[in-house]
Amino acid sequence: DAGITQSPRHKVTETGTPVTLRCHQTENHRYMYWYRQDPGHGLRLIHYSYGVKDTDKGEVSDGYSVSRSKTEDFLLTLESATSSQTSVYFCAISESRKSSYEQYFGPGTRLTVT
């Protein structure tokens, strides 16, 4: 398995509080991603990073911000959590060195906003 960890793995928080999820990789891959997965929607891209300090929005980026100050860490922040952000969040990594577009996923974080 690719060396990807996510923390925390489970979190319950209240509406209006800030939340930060962390993704850590040991593969030195250039690209990192945050997805959310909800029933009936599959995996939807929130933000992605193509290098240190280089990030781009995905299809569902409203209400989320990201930061990447080191190759190995990609943080996802919910500035003020809402119930609609209750979801399972997956981090993924990818590397294009071999002209491959394979993505490897972390174990996921289950977030509940009450």
Partner: protein, 112 residues
């Protein structure tokens, strides 16, 4: 607008059956199509397809791409209960970045 559509949404079969899962896509600058299997955890990579007509195989799973008709199929022969999972396909966005768009997935349940 880039789009990936999978069908059927769900499928229930008995062990030993053969199943065919479909993934159609609409992107302007096609580069690749990826298949993933997701059990009760993170998706795991199955195949990457870049050329039409070349079948990729891994045991009882195989996949083929049709770039003219813009779809891919994933076949599973002699299904087992361990094949029960959500199967996802994804393609990179037209924009040329390394962002991917995923289909909603097909939920397969294999009964003993």
């Amino acid at each position: 607008e880039d789009k990936v559509v999978q069908s059927p949404l769900s499928l229930v079969v008995h062990e030993g059956d053969t199943v065919t899962l479909n993934c159609s896509y609409e992107v302007t600058n096609f580069r690749s199509l990826l298949w993933y299997k997701q059990e009760k955890k993170a998706p795991t990579f199955l195949f990457m397809l870049t050329s039409s007509g070349i079948e990729k195989k891994s045991g009882r799973l195989s996949s083929i791409l049709d770039k003219k008709e813009l779809f891919s199929i994933l076949n599973i022969t002699a299904t087992q209960t361990g094949d029960s999972a959500i199967y996802l396909c994804a393609v990179p966005y037209t924009s040329g970045t390394y962002k991917y768009i995923f289909g909603t997935g097909t939920r397969l349940k294999v009964l003993a």
